[in-house]
C-alpha cells in the first residue's frame, strides 16, 4: 500500500516537471493547491474547453441570479429564503468547480455538490407532491449516474496511476478499454445531460423548479453532462470507430424524440424541458461528427464538429435561459403554466413577448440569432463528413443532416405553437388574467442581456466561434493554426452579410409599405370569421390542437393518448376531451422497473420469516457453507 502512495507521489513530481517544460499545450491558466483528502488535490485548470463552459456558467448564473431577485418577490411573505440562497451560491460554486477541476476527487466532489444543491433548489415549492416527486427523481437518477462516473474515473485513474486529469490524459488506453470507459461516461454523464432514454428526470424537474433554477438547470446544469463527456473524450484521445457513430446516433435519437415530445406538451416549462433534450441531441450530433473526424484522422472535420457542439452549448445556455425566464414571467402573470389557457399576452406584456420571440427564433436555429450560427457549423461539418468520410460514415452524416433539418422544422412548428398560443390571439380562458403578477424590472434586465447576447453572437459570431474552435481543436488535440479555418469563416461571414441584406430589405419594405399606406385610413375590425359572426376566444386553436396533426402522425412513437371527446347523435351531449403524450422510457422502462423492485422488496418484507429459529439456521448454514467451500 505504501508503494501505491509513493507511486502517487512520484507521479505528482513528474507532473511538476511537465509543467516546467511547458508541455501542456493550450492551457490558459492552472492552479495547484494541496487538498488533504485521500487522492485529492485542489487542482484547477482553465483550458479552452473549460473556457466555453465557464462562460456559459458565468453568464447564466449571473443573469438568473438577478432574475431571481425579482422573481422570488412573490414568495417573500410566505417562505424563508435562507436555504434557497445558500444552495444557489453552493450550486454556482459547484458549477465553476466542475468545469475547472483537474482532479478526479475534486470533480466528483463538485459533481455531488451540484446534484445536492440542485435538488434543494428544485424542491423549493415542496408543498406540492409533484415537485417532491420530481426532485426525488432527479436526485436518485443523478446520484446513480454519479456512481457510474466514479467507476469510470477510477478505471481511468487506475490505468494511469494518477487522479489528475492532465496526467491521465498522458497515458495510453487500450482501445477496448477506452470504449468501455466511454460507454460508462455516456450513461453516467448522459443521465445528467438528458440522453434518451435516461432523460426522464428532466421533464419533471424543470417545471417543478422555480424559474431561475429551471434556467440554470437547462442552461448549464445539463451541459455539465456534455462537459463531462468532452472531458473524457479529451482525456482518452484515441477512441474506437464505433464511438463516433454511437454518439451521432444518440444525437439523432435525442434530438428527434426531444422535439417530438415537446410538441406533445401543453405545459410551457415541460415543453421547454423537452427542447433541452433536443438541443442536447444537436450538441451530440456535433460531438459525433467530431469523433468521426478524429477516428478518420481528419482534424478539420473534428474541429468543425467539436467546435459547433461547443458553440451550441454556449448558445443553448443563452437562449434557453432567456426562454425560461420569459416563461417565468408568463407564469407569474397568468398563474398557470398550461398553454391551453393562455393567449394574447403580447398586448399585455409587449417587452417580454419580444424577448421571448428572440429566444424562440434562436432556438429554432433561424438566422439573425445565435442558434443558426452553431447549427450552421454543425451542418457544415456534417456535409464535410458526407463528402470525405468512407461509405458508412457518409451515410451516417446524411442521416445526421436529415434529422437536423427535421429537428429544425419541428422546433419551428413547436415554437410557433408556443408563441402563437401564449402571446398571440385572445386569452383562452374567459376571465381576465389576475393582474397581481407584476413583472419587476429586475426580471426584464437579465432577459434583455441574454436577448442581446443572442443577437450579438448571431450577427458577430467571430469571437465566440473562434473560442469554440479553439476548444474544439483542444478537444481533438490538434493545432488550430494548421487547419484551413478560412473554409468555415468565409461562409460564416457571407451568411452574416446575407442576414444584413435581409435586414436591409426588411427596412426597405417597411419604408415602401409606409409610403403606400400614406393617406389611407387603417380601420380596425373584428377578425373575419368567414361569415361566422359569433367567434369566441374558446374556438381558437389551442396548443394541443395545433400540434395534433404532427403528434397524431407519429403517435406510434409518442404514446399519444386521447380520452373522451366522442360526439354521438345529431344533438350531442356535453362532452370533454383530454389528450396527453407519454414518455415511453418512463412509462415502459423506469416505472415498471421501479414498481417491480419495490414490490419485490415489499414482498420480502411481508414474507419475512418471523421465526428467530430460521435466522439461527442462516448462521449455521452460512458456517457450514464456508467450511465446505474453504476446507473441502
Amino acid at each position: 500500500m505504501k508503494r501505491f502512495w509513493r507511486h502517487f507521489k512520484s507521479r505528482n513530481q513528474e507532473r511538476q516537471e511537465l509543467y516546467k517544460e511547458g508541455r501542456f499545450f493550450n492551457m490558459l491558466e492552472s492552479f495547484q493547491w494541496p487538498w488533504h483528502v485521500p487522492f485529492g488535490e485542489f487542482a484547477l485548470k482553465l483550458d479552452s474547453l473549460s473556457l466555453i463552459f465557464l462562460t456559459a456558467v458565468t453568464i447564466l448564473v449571473l443573469c438568473a441570479g438577478v432574475y431571481a431577485v425579482g422573481y422570488m418577490r412573490q414568495y417573500r411573505t410566505t417562505k424563508s429564503m435562507g436555504l434557497h440562497i445558500f444552495f444557489y451560491f453552493l450550486l454556482s460554486t459547484a458549477l465553476v468547480l466542475i468545469v475547472l477541476a483537474n482532479n478526479v476527487i475534486l470533480f466528483l466532489g463538485a459533481w455531488e455538490m451540484m446534484s445536492i444543491s440542485t435538488y434543494f433548489l428544485i424542491v423549493f415549492n415542496d408543498e406540492k407532491s409533484s415537485v417532491r416527486r420530481a426532485g426525488f427523481l432527479y436526485l436518485i437518477m443523478s446520484h446513480c449516474g454519479t456512481f457510474l462516473l466514479i467507476l469510470m474515473f477510477f478505471l481511468m485513474a487506475h490505468n494511469a496511476g494518477s487522479m489528475n486529469f492532465e496526467i491521465i490524459s498522458h497515458s495510453s488506453f487500450p482501445v477496448a478499454f477506452a470504449g468501455s470507459i466511454l460507454l460508462l461516461a455516456i450513461i453516467g454523464f448522459g443521465i445528467k445531460a438528458g440522453f434518451v432514454p435516461v432523460h426522464i428526470w428532466l421533464p419533471h424537474a424543470h417545471p417543478a423548479a422555480p424559474t431561475h433554477i429551471s434556467a440554470i438547470l437547462s442552461g448549464v446544469a445539463i451541459k455539465m453532462g456534455i462537459y463531462g463527456i468532452c472531458r473524457v473524450l479529451w482525456i482518452i484521445g484515441v477512441l474506437p470507430d464505433w464511438c463516433g457513430y454511437l454518439i451521432l446516433i444518440i444525437g439523432v435519437v435525442c434530438g428527434l424524440m426531444g422535439v417530438l415530445y415537446a410538441l406533445g406538451q401543453h405545459e410551457l416549462k415541460k415543453l421547454l424541458a423537452y427542447h433541452s433534450i433536443e438541443n442536447i441531441g444537436i450538441i451530440s450530433l456535433g460531438l459525433g461528427v467530431g469523433l468521426l473526424g478524429q477516428s478518420h484522422h481528419m482534424p478539420f472535420l473534428s474541429v468543425l464538429g467539436f467546435g459547433g457542439a461547443l458553440l451550441h452549448v454556449l448558445n443553448h445556455a443563452i437562449f434557453k435561459g432567456l426562454l425560461f425566464m420569459g416563461a417565468g414571467c408568463v407564469i407569474q402573470r397568468t398563474h398557470t403554466s398550461d398553454m391551453d389557457l393562455m393567449g394574447g399576452l403580447a398586448r399585455t406584456m409587449p417587452l417580454v413577448s419580444i424577448l421571448f420571440l428572440v429566444g424562440a427564433l434562436a432556438i429554432c436555429g433561424l438566422p439573425l440569432f445565435n442558434g443558426f450560427i452553431s447549427e450552421f457549423i454543425i451542418y457544415f461539418g456534417l456535409f464535410q463528413g458526407l463528402f470525405h468520410l468512407p461509405l458508412q460514415g457518409a451515410f451516417t452524416c446524411a442521416v445526421g443532416i436529415i434529422s437536423l433539418a427535421l429537428m429544425g422544422a419541428l422546433a419551428l412548428a413547436c415554437f410557433t405553437k408556443v408563441y402563437g398560443t401564449v402571446f398571440l390571439g385572445e386569452p383562452r380562458h374567459l376571465q381576465e388574467p389576475p393582474s397581481t403578477g407584476k413583472i419587476s424590472l429586475l426580471m426584464i434586465i437579465p432577459m434583455l442581456v441574454l436577448g442581446g447576447l443572442c443577437l450579438w453572437i448571431g450577427l458577430f459570431p467571430q469571437i465566440m466561434a473562434n473560442a469554440a474552435f479553439q476548444g474544439g481543436a483542444y478537444l481533438s488535440h490538434t493545432d488550430l493554426a494548421s487547419l484551413p479555418m478560412g473554409t468555415i469563416f468565409y461562409p460564416l461571414s457571407l451568411v452574416i452579410s446575407g442576414v444584413f441584406l435581409f435586414f436591409a430589405l426588411v427596412l426597405a419594405l417597411v419604408g415602401i409599405r409606409r409610403k403606400l399606406l400614406q393617406g389611407h385610413a387603417q380601420p380596425v375590425r373584428e377578425t373575419w370569421g368567414c361569415g361566422f359572426f359569433q367567434m369566441t376566444p374558446k374556438i381558437q386553436y389551442t396548443s394541443s390542437s395545433f400540434a395534433l396533426l404532427i403528434v397524431d402522425f407519429v403517435k406510434g412513437i409518442l404514446f399519444f393518448r386521447r380520452e373522451g371527446g366522442d360526439v354521438k347523435g345529431k344533438f350531442p351531449a356535453k362532452t370533454s376531451m383530454s389528450s396527453s403524450v407519454h414518455d415511453a422510457s418512463e412509462e415502459f422502462l423506469f416505472k415498471p422497473l421501479f414498481a417491480r423492485l419495490t414490490s419485490f422488496s415489499k414482498k420480502l418484507d411481508m414474507n419475512r420469516i418471523r421465526y428467530t429459529q430460521i435466522y439461527l439456521m442462516y448462521i449455521f448454514l452460512y458456517l457450514i457453507f464456508l467450511l465446505v467451500w474453504k476446507l473441502k
Partner: protein
C-alpha cells in the same frame, strides 16, 4: 484416569440427547443442571496425578454457576408460565432423537479429519464436544419456547466448554472465569427479558401468548 474423562464426555452427550427428547421444561432444566455438574467434575479428572488449584477453581465455579445458579434463574423466569410442556416443536420429539443421532454421527465423522496437536486427554473430547454443540444448536432451532432456546444455548456453551477445559491450559484462569461469568450474565439478562415479556403479555392481552416472532414466552 483417561477412562473417567471418556465417561464424562459420553455422559454429557447422552444428557444432551435426553434434553432434546424431553418435552417438559422443568425436567429439561433439571437435566441441564446435571449435565453442568458432570462438566464441573471434568477438571478434577483431567490431570489425575496433580490437581492444580486452577482445575479446582474452574470445576467449582462451573458447578456453582451452571449447575446451581443458572437453573435457579431459569426456574424463576418461567415461574408464571405453565411448566408442563413444550408447545408445538418445529420438529417432533421422535424425529428430534433420530436427527440427534445423525448429528452425533456426523460430528464423529468430521472429527476424524481433525487432528489435535499435542496430547489430548481423550480422543473422545473433540467429537463429543462437537456433538454437544450441534445438539444444543438443534434444540435452539427446533424448539419454540423461549426457555428451551436458552437451554439450547447453554448446552451449546457446555459443548464448547467441554472442549476448552479438557484441551488446554493456555487460557489464563481469569479469562476462563470471565467467560463463565459472561455466560452467567447472559442467562441472567435473558431470564429478565423473558420475564419482562411475560409481564407485558399479561398486561396487554392475556390471550396472546404467541409473539409475532415465533417464540412462546
Amino acid at each position: 484416569m483417561t477412562s473417567w474423562v471418556d465417561v464424562i464426555c459420553i455422559v454429557i452427550v447422552f444428557l444432551s440427547l435426553i434434553i432434546l427428547s424431553n418435552h417438559r421444561v422443568a425436567a429439561m432444566i433439571g437435566v441441564f443442571a446435571l449435565q453442568s455438574f458432570v462438566l464441573g467434575l471434568l477438571p478434577f479428572f483431567l490431570h489425575a496425578s496433580s490437581i492444580s488449584s486452577r482445575d479446582i477453581m474452574i470445576g467449582l465455579v462451573t458447578m456453582i454457576l451452571k449447575a446451581a445458579l443458572v437453573p435457579y434463574i431459569l426456574f424463576w423466569a418461567i415461574r408464571h408460565v405453565s411448566m408442563r410442556s413444550e408447545i408445538k416443536p418445529i420438529i417432533g420429539f421422535g424425529a428430534s432423537i433420530i436427527f440427534g443421532a445423525i448429528v452425533i454421527a456426523g460430528a464423529f465423522w468430521v472429527s476424524l479429519s481433525l487432528k489435535i496437536p499435542g496430547q489430548p486427554a481423550s480422543d473422545l473430547v473433540l467429537p463429543c464436544s462437537l456433538s454437544t454443540v450441534l445438539l444444543g444448536f438443534m434444540i435452539m432451532v427446533t424448539r419454540t419456547r423461549a426457555v428451551t432456546q436458552v437451554l439450547g444455548y447453554l448446552i451449546l456453551e457446555n459443548g464448547i466448554f467441554l472442549f476448552a477445559i479438557s484441551l488446554f491450559d493456555v487460557m489464563p484462569v481469569l479469562i476462563e472465569m470471565g467467560i463463565l461469568l459472561d455466560i452467567f450474565v447472559a442467562v441472567f439478562i435473558m431470564a429478565i427479558v423473558v420475564n419482562h415479556i411475560n409481564e407485558e403479555f399479561e398486561k396487554n392481552t392475556a390471550s396472546v401468548v404467541q409473539s409475532n416472532m415465533g417464540e412462546t414466552f
